[in-house]
Every structure is written in structure tokens, then in C-alpha cells.
């Protein structure tokens, strides 16, 4: 049962951080290329646009949920399991969520890369 709780917490970390990344990406796509915007309107406008974007704050909420789920998972299980499991799965889940919610063209190249990085990070951590 405790193991199930731990894996639920790890799943929560992965879903929350991937969800946060998807929301952040959607927010930045709404604003457009920040470099172009800074050249045309200045840095103050760029900062203002970012902080007036609702999706940006939703993304921060997701990252907060992910952070507290991480703390919870670390209190239940070993860091040597929690850190690599959550960090590596995030790459694959983010690619899947980007394909579904952001309609990104996740082709073979990106799937293979996500899997290579996923396995590599799992070994590294």
C-alpha cells in the first residue's frame, strides 16, 4: 500500500511538472517571440506581458503542486528512486502532452530523443 502511495506521488510530480511546462509553453506562444517583442516594444513591455498572462500563473501553480508532491514523495521513499523516476518520466509525458494539448508535431526523431534522454537521466540520477 505504501508503495502504491509512493508511485501515486511520483505520478503527481510528473503530471504537475509536465502540465506546468505545457501551460508555460502555451502562455509563451500566445505572447509570441520574446526577442522580437523586446526589440519592438522594450523589456518592460515583455515583462508586463508575461506577468499579465493567466496561463503563466496557472503554470506556476502546477510547478508548486509538483514541488510539494516531490517533498511528499521524498518523505515516503528514497531519493535514489524518486528523483530519477520523476525526472526521466517527465520527458516522455511532456512530449505526449505537447502532442495532445499543444498539437505539436512530435515525430519519430522527437520520440527517440525523449526516450534516449529519459533512459540516460534515469541512469545518471
Amino acid at each position: 500500500m505504501k508503495s502504491l502511495d509512493l508511485w501515486l506521488a511520483i505520478s503527481m510530480i510528473v503530471l504537475a511538472s509536465s502540465g506546468g511546462d505545457v501551460l508555460l509553453s502555451a502562455a509563451m506562444k500566445r505572447i509570441g517571440d520574446l526577442n522580437d517583442l523586446r526589440r519592438r516594444r522594450g523589456l518592460i513591455v515583455v515583462v508586463g506581458r508575461v506577468f499579465s498572462e493567466k496561463l503563466f500563473f496557472l503554470a506556476l501553480c502546477c510547478f508548486s503542486i509538483g514541488f510539494f508532491s516531490l517533498l511528499t514523495a521524498l518523505s515516503w521513499g528514497d531519493a535514489s528512486l524518486v528523483a530519477p523516476a520523476s525526472a526521466s518520466m517527465t520527458f516522455v509525458v511532456s512530449a505526449a502532452m505537447a502532442k495532445v494539448f499543444l498539437k505539436e508535431d512530435v515525430d519519430h526523431r522527437r520520440w527517440v530523443s525523449a526516450l534516449l534522454v529519459c533512459v540516460g537521466v534515469a541512469i545518471l540520477m
Binding site: D21, V22, L24, S25, M28, K29, I31, G32, D33, L34, N35, V50, T90, F91, S94, A95, A98, K99, L102, K103, E104, D105, V106, D107, R109, R110, V112, S113, A114, L115, L116, V117, V119, G120, V121, A122, I123, L124, M125
Partner: protein, 137 residues
């Protein structure tokens, strides 16, 4: 992709991993955090390594936002995973940690993944609706 965009990806990789390593270096000086006196950790902000680490992570987040404004998430995430390799190298040469052969294999796999994805397009081009495509033809 022009060189400025590669520079942004490079900044994400470098500042994210350097920030983590600097925080670790600062916390080594600070010592273990006492769970009965958690607020004491705020005094760690007086440590120059911690301060530079936080600055580094602010630059990392700004670069990440910039990259997501012109590239797909499914491109940026694997493309910037080289940070894990940088952390391993910093661990080996800056923090004098032991890096096993298995972890060097991990470094190789991550590097292959990064190399593979960065050779592809960075942004999904939205396709015109079928009706418009017929009109163009």
C-alpha cells in the same frame, strides 16, 4: 535556427546546471538543515555561492521562457537535457565526486538524445485548413 537561438538553449543548459551546482556548493558550507528549525535555512541566503546560484537560476528561467516563445516544448525539453551532463561534469571536476562507468553511459545516452533532436525542426508549422489548401492550389 540562428546562432542566437542556439545561444539561448546553451544558456538554459549552462545556467540551470551551474545554478544547481552552486546551490549544492553553498549548502555544503551551510551544513545540514535542522527540521526543527527550518526557518534557519533563510540565513543561507547570506552565502555568496547561494546568491550566485539563485541569480544563475533566474537567468535559466528567463532563457527557458524565451526558448518556449519560439520553439516547441517537445524540442526544448530534450534539447536542453545536456544540463544533466554538465551537472555530472561539474560534480566530477568542481565538487570532486565519484562518477561511475554506468553514469558515463547515461551521459552518452543523454548526449545522443540531445544531438538527435537538435538536428530536427524546432517549431511545428501550423497547417492551413484543407479548404484553404484547395483554394491556394
Amino acid at each position: 535556427m540562428n546562432y542566437k537561438k542556439y545561444l539561448v538553449l546553451f544558456a538554459i543548459t549552462c545556467f540551470g546546471s551551474t545554478g544547481d551546482a552552486l546551490l549544492k556548493r553553498g549548502m555544503n558550507d551551510f551544513g545540514p538543515v535542522d527540521l526543527h528549525n527550518v526557518l534557519h535555512v533563510v540565513t543561507a541566503l547570506g552565502n555568496p555561492w547561494i546568491l550566485i546560484g539563485i541569480l544563475s537560476l533566474i537567468v535559466f528561467f528567463a532563457s527557458y521562457l524565451i526558448a518556449l516563445s519560439w520553439a516547441d516544448l517537445s524540442y526544448v525539453l530534450p534539447a536542453t537535457a545536456l544540463g544533466y551532463v554538465v551537472v555530472t561534469l561539474l560534480g566530477k571536476y568542481f565538487l570532486h565526486e565519484n562518477v561511475s562507468a554506468l553514469r558515463w553511459l547515461g551521459v552518452m545516452l543523454v548526449s545522443c538524445g540531445v544531438g538527435w533532436v537538435t538536428r530536427g525542426p524546432s517549431l511545428t508549422v501550423p497547417q492551413a485548413p484543407v479548404k484553404e489548401q484547395h483554394e491556394i492550389a
